[in-house]
């Protein structure tokens, strides 16, 4: 929400003004540094940055999405995240949460874009429909595509929240009627952080925002543009059920004794082995649990095209063009059978077609056998 103050405030000053003690502030710095994957010696640096950095304006756009990213973010563990970062300090425009609405809200956004041109952070939640000239998603009479391009022009960096903005998510699933497109395929000339997940973990979102505001640069990204601190390991590799996997102990169905005993959900379609996220370590709802801990396999929501990557409750995925129920092994077995049949036919045909040649060789061999000297 727009705080029209002429006097620039640092994060620390704002936090103190909100009634948090120095102690609360230090706790927050420690906590967020840990989430960012920084070592404890860097806590002081985080605190120092927040003390000396002036607030960085954030514009948060909502396009084709369900707002689950915002929901996740405002539920992140520490109150300072929601209270200070989101509510009081940085957010100049987010149509879902801001008090202003209509023309006032748009005016506030444009004021920020002009005043902080080249400085503000653009957060995008949701994909952008490119089909039908962008008319599938319009806000204030303008298409999402227009709004994005305008807002991105003056942004210092873009954060693509969630699978919608990073990968297209469910609305981009085949046949993708609205041509829902992730941000990095539209904006090419700005640094983009992709934070996939449906939604991403609140603490991950907070960690990334704090990293950007505290250090003034993007966190280290992997080849897909995801922050390494949160997306470098598979859910599988940090899963507390991993010992069951290594032991070969699997739940066969969701209602068998193995499932009740908490065995690995690999065979009921857990996508943890292919999914890069930190659900296994940071978990959800203030660290209470995460899908696998609650007895359901990972659906791979932070992976590209997770919606089109086959059923949630099976290991193998369907092959396009071979009917609904065929997977690679069904097709393979049929093809191998056909091949074996073909070979058998060929073998018989060969013996018939080459019978003269075979006969002559056999008889020569027999004569030689008879003529063997002893």
């Amino acid at each position: 929400m727009s705080t029209k103050k002429e006097v620039k405030e640092t994060y620390y000053e704002s936090i103190r003004k909100q009634g948090y003690s120095r102690r609360d502030f230090m706790k927050f710095a420690t906590y967020i540094a840990a989430y960012m994957g920084l070592e404890s010696s860097l806590v002081a640096q985080v605190a120092k940055s927040l003390e000396t950095t002036f607030r960085l304006p954030v514009i948060w756009e909502h396009f084709q999405e369900c707002t689950c990213c915002s929901e996740s973010f405002i539920r992140s563990d520490h109150p300072i995240v929601a209270d200070i970062i989101l509510d009081k300090i940085s957010l100049d425009y987010t149509l879902t949460l801001m008090a202003a609405s209509g023309h006032q809200a748009e005016a506030a956004k444009h004021a920020t874009m002009e005043k902080y041109n080249g400085e503000y952070i653009l957060c995008v939640e949701g994909s952008v429909p490119m089909g039908a000239d962008g008319n599938y998603c319009c806000i204030g009479g303008r298409s999402a595509k227009d709004i994005l391009i305008e807002a991105a022009a003056g942004a210092k960096a873009i954060i693509a929240w969630g699978s919608c903005a990073s990968n297209g998510c469910v609305q981009a699933a085949k046949p993708n009627p609205t041509d829902a497109t992730p941000i990095h395929k539209i904006i090419k000339n700005k640094p983009i952080i992709r934070v996939p997940g449906c939604p991403p973990i609140g603490e991950v979102m907070a960690g990334i925002i704090v990293h950007v505001v505290a250090f003034g640069r993007l966190p280290e990204l992997d080849r897909l543009g995801r922050p390494k601190a949160f997306y470098s390991k598979r859910v599988h590799d940090s899963c507390y059920r991993r010992p069951y996997y290594d032991a070969g102990l699997f739940a066969e169905t969701f209602d068998d004794q193995n499932a009740k005993d908490g065995y690995c959900l690999y065979k009921v379609g857990c996508k943890g082995p292919m999914t890069y996220n930190s659900c296994g370590t940071i978990k959800w709802n203030n660290g209470v649990s995460y899908p696998i801990q609650s007895g359901h396999g990972c659906i791979g929501c932070s992976e590209e095209e997770f919606w089109d990557n086959g059923p949630f409750y099976e290991r193998l995925t369907n092959l396009p063009g071979f009917g609904i129920e065929s997977n690679a092994d069904t097709v393979g077995k049929v093809a191998a059978g056909a091949l074996a049949g073909g070979i058998a036919v060929h073998a018989v045909a060969a013996n018939i077609a080459k019978r003269k040649q075979l006969k002559s060789r056999t008889s020569r061999g027999k004569i030689n056998e008879e003529n063997l000297s002893h």
């Binding site: 390991k233 070969g248 102990l249 290991r315 191998a336 060969a350 003269k356």
Partner: protein
């Protein structure tokens, strides 16, 4: 009716044979363990997970076999530069004029099973025939695909630089889903290849009688006398040295 004379020719040198059988074993193990990893059997056990490591062992065997498969392949590539004419990379070149001629001949005589009116000895390949060499190129490319996707899936759990060289694979395909899918489908390619390869070895052994099957054990194939040019320093042995 005249019995033909043959000379024994060393076609497959020892490293080629060793490569072949190590490769066979690796592919077999990789396919079997691969199937288990893709769809593990239900095991009944009262043991605690702490005391079991069965699936871990299956994966360990898969990864070990994969490493052996990989290094074995590299040794074979090395040997294609120093080995004899049948092991040489040149023997795999599909379309020189001579091999194109052979390709058509094999298609006609061995695949479509036509009988020739006139038999030209030169049409009988001593090493690979041209169709076979194409299938080996296809197999090599398939192996490359398996190595890339396999190491790609393995890279993130490894700290060694070699698998770490393949960290680009997963992002290239958009994630592990696609990589795993490709790895699994390409495996079927090995099964199809094996079926056809084994059949054709038997086929040639049966129809040509030149020791096709045993050549991959002993290395020798039997070549018609008239194709081996006698020189002064002939390989023909004296009677006393002669083996049976």
């Amino acid at each position: 009716m005249k019995t033909r004379s043959f000379k024994r020719v060393l076609v497959w040198e020892l490293p080629v044979r060793v490569f072949h059988w190590v490769n066979t074993l690796c592919v077999l193990v990789l396919i079997l363990t691969g199937f288990i990893i893709a769809d593990p059997p239900a095991i009944l056990s009262n043991a605690e997970a702490t005391n079991l490591h069965s699936f871990g062992v299956v994966r360990f065997i898969h990864f070990t076999a994969a490493y052996i498969f990989f290094f074995n392949m590299i040794l074979r590539i090395y040997w294609s530069f120093v080995g004899n004419r049948f092991a040489s990379w040149k023997a795999f070149l599909p379309f020189t004029k001579k091999r194109w001629h052979n390709f058509k001949h094999v298609l006609k005589v061995d695949v479509l099973l036509k009988n020739e009116k006139e038999h030209d000895l030169k049409d009988i390949s001593i090493g690979h025939n041209s169709v076979a060499s194409l299938s080996y190129i296809a197999l090599f490319l398939l192996a490359l695909l398996q190595i890339i996707t396999g190491f790609g899936l393995y890279a993130d759990t490894s700290t060694w630089w070699l698998p770490r060289l393949f960290t680009w694979v997963s992002p290239l395909f958009g994630g592990d889903f696609a990589v795993r899918q490709i790895h699994h489908i390409a495996m079927w390619g090995f099964i199809f290849f094996t079926l056809v390869h084994v059949y054709l070895v038997f086929y040639h052994d049966w129809l040509e009688g030149r020791g096709e099957v045993s050549s991959m054990f002993g290395g020798y194939k039997f070549v018609r006398d008239e194709r081996v040019v006698s020189k002064e320093k002939d390989a023909t042995v004296t009677a006393t040295e002669a083996d049976t």
